[in-house]
């Protein structure tokens, strides 16, 4: 069993990460932290830089949960999570949810919605 969490360095990602650590402890399983950028813009604040990766590793080590951090460039965050869930054995996904206006969804689409619809497993949606 694996707990998968989509992490971005903001309040939604933090809420999801906290919930995912809790979930992994409760289930006694390992934790897979995923972070993705489509790599389309020169700067992507949702993609973890070196210093942020170091912080994340330290916090995960402190939590005592067996963990792995995986980054990918060029794929969508939703695709990355769903693909990882399909590859894992009996997974559960944890994501952070944000409020989006209907117009915002129309223009940008919703990563959370696509994960909820496409995931082959349970999805735990966390609000900060």
């Amino acid at each position: 069993m694996t707990v998968l969490v989509g992490y971005i360095p903001d309040q939604y990602g933090e809420a999801a990460l906290a919930a995912a650590i809790e979930e992994a402890e409760r289930r006694g399983t390992d934790l897979l932290v995923l972070n993705a950028s489509r790599g389309e813009s020169l700067v992507d604040t949702r993609y973890l830089g070196e210093s942020q990766l170091g912080d994340l590793e330290r916090r995960l080590a402190d939590s005592g949960v067996a963990h792995e951090v995986r980054q990918s460039v060029g794929t969508d965050a939703a695709d990355q999570l769903v693909a990882a869930a399909q590859a894992a054995d009996d997974p559960v996904i944890v994501i952070g949810m944000r409020h989006r206006s209907p117009v915002g969804k129309l223009i940008m689409g919703s990563t959370a919605q696509r994960i909820l619809l496409d995931a082959p497993c349970w999805v735990i949606a966390v609000k900060p």
Partner: protein
């Protein structure tokens, strides 16, 4: 004194709400394209060229000049915050600037770059105002043979000084000259390189070539390398400088200006050489003071000097452009094309025929420069956010404007095919590392050179000796020979030494 009066007249003309608005639009747009790597002022001006046909020539030139100065300024922001120079002239700024930013001194680095740019730009523009009339007065006396020689010199210098590979430079130059040959021969009305098509008989519009090579070429290139690891941007607040920073920056600003202006005014490949020289000078001076340990870890002198040199050389470019009609940078080439499209003949007579245009333009440059400082210092954090624009959307917009602009020139679908072809050329030269400046310079200078060559040969009834009939021409030809031979000779002498040291080390 007369120059000051004329400049004051220019200011009076430039201080209209409309021109101030155009100057503001120009500098904002220029900073926008300067901040984004891969998109420079040359591309922005080429894209805007067809759109500004509806405007008055002065208004258009004010916007373009604003874009040019703004682009120089915006490049430094990207260099400092990302270590990814927005344009080639900012490469030296990135060395110390990014180190400063990493040490938490991004605000000071941005401030010294901005204020240095302002000071160098202002001094440079004033120097343009003083030098151009004098140079133009001399240039009127220069005959066709000498003019041809000077153009040849600028082509040779740009091609051989710039970039690592001379072969690549000359490949670009000859491609440009070939494109310039397309169309009807002006004196015999023979069709050249038209492949029997009627559409090519008028030649290829410079707008089509520039937009194709700069905009489409860059868009194709980016599309081929779309997915890239995002880089980490250094967060920045309001730029400011402490008293110590002011004291340390003042000298480099002035030295950078002194180095940058003359290099900008001669055709030696724009701002790369003076920014490099300024960096080396500041480093040596710091060493003499025994304070060079900070160099390499973020010395403010290493940002202030090159940034001032960069902007001073940007200003210097206007001297040959306004006095001789001779462009020395890619942006200047497009500016020249813009002037020509308004039916204005750039050259020694420009000062006499269009004094209002020249002086209003120079006054607007000074105003635009001040606007850059006032607008951009507080906006620095906002400009850094521009880097988060996704490339697909950005380049889709560029392609849209490129196509629209190319079509609007003559409303001819054939032009769209040509645009696509030159887009392919633009992609190919990026793929094979051929510099773009010799190519675009060849396109615009080729036909001008041909006119002068024909003139010179007509005067001597076709005798080749007509090309050497003026003493100035002979001096210039000697300079060309020196420029071509000396680097090669130096390389021959130096190579054995280098090999020795390599073996020793």
């Amino acid at each position: 004194m007369e120059t000051l009066d004329l400049l004051a007249g220019g200011f009076a003309d430039a201080f209209t709400p409309q021109l101030l608005l155009y100057a503001a639009i120009g500098v904002l747009l220029g900073t926008f394209v300067g901040v984004l790597p891969g998109i420079g002022p040359a591309m922005a001006v080429a894209l805007l060229l067809p759109i500004t046909y509806g405007l008055d020539v002065t208004e258009a030139m004010v916007i373009f000049a604003g874009i040019y100065y703004g682009g120089m300024y915006g490049g430094s922001t990207t260099s400092i915050l990302l270590n990814t120079p927005g344009e080639s002239a900012s490469v030296m700024t990135a060395i110390e600037g990014n180190k400063m930013a990493k040490r938490g001194r991004a605000a000071q680095a941005l401030a010294t770059a901005a204020i240095g740019s302002f000071i160098a730009g202002t001094i440079g523009t004033l120097l343009v105002a003083f030098f151009t009339p004098a140079l133009a007065a001399q240039a009127v006396k220069v005959g066709a043979p000498s003019f041809f020689a000077i153009m040849l010199l600028s082509l040779v210098l740009v091609t051989s000084v710039l970039g690592q590979s001379k072969i690549r430079g000359f490949a670009g130059l000859f491609m440009g000259l070939t494109i310039g040959l397309i169309g009807m021969d002006q004196s015999t009305a023979q069709a050249r390189l038209t492949f029997g098509t009627l559409e090519l008989a008028d030649g290829v519009g410079i707008v089509i070539v520039a937009v194709g090579v700069f905009a489409l070429g860059e868009a194709f290139w980016t599309a081929a390398h779309l997915r890239r690891n995002p880089v980490e941007v250094i967060p920045v607040g309001q730029p400011f400088m402490g008293r110590d920073d002011w004291r340390r920056s003042a000298g480099p600003w002035l030295r950078g200006t002194a180095l940058g202006f003359p290099f900008g005014a001669v055709p030696a490949g724009g701002a790369e050489t003076p920014t490099f020289l300024s960096y080396v000078t500041e480093r040596k001076l710091a060493k003499r003071r025994g304070a060079d340990d900070e160099f390499g870890q973020g010395a403010i002198e290493g940002v202030a000097g090159p940034e001032a040199a960069n902007n001073a050389s940007a200003a210097g470019m206007f001297v040959p452009l306004l006095a001789l009609g001779l462009p020395v940078t890619a942006t200047a080439t497009i500016l020249l094309a813009a002037l020509t499209s308004y039916g204005i003949v750039p050259g020694p007579t420009l000062m006499d025929e269009q004094p209002d245009l020249v002086w209003t333009l120079l006054a607007s440059l000074l105003i635009g420069n001040a606007l850059l400082l006032v607008i951009n210092l507080p906006l620095a954090p906002l400009w850094a956010r521009l880097l988060r624009i996704p490339r697909p959307q950005l380049y889709a917009g560029i392609l849209f404007f490129a196509t629209l602009g190319a079509y609007s020139v003559a409303q001819d679908p054939f032009d769209l095919g040509l645009l696509l072809f030159f887009g392919g050329v633009g992609f190919a030269i990026r793929r094979f590392g051929i510099p773009v400046l010799p190519l675009i310079l060849g396109v615009i200078l080729g036909p001008l050179m041909e006119v002068k060559l024909r003139e010179a040969l007509d005067l001597s009834s076709g005798d080749v000796s007509g090309l050497f009939s003026e003493s100035l021409a002979i001096v210039v030809y000697i300079l060309i020979a020196v420029a071509l031979v000396v680097p090669v000779a130096l390389g021959q002498i130096r190579t054995p030494d280098d090999e020795k040291t390599e073996v020793a080390s």
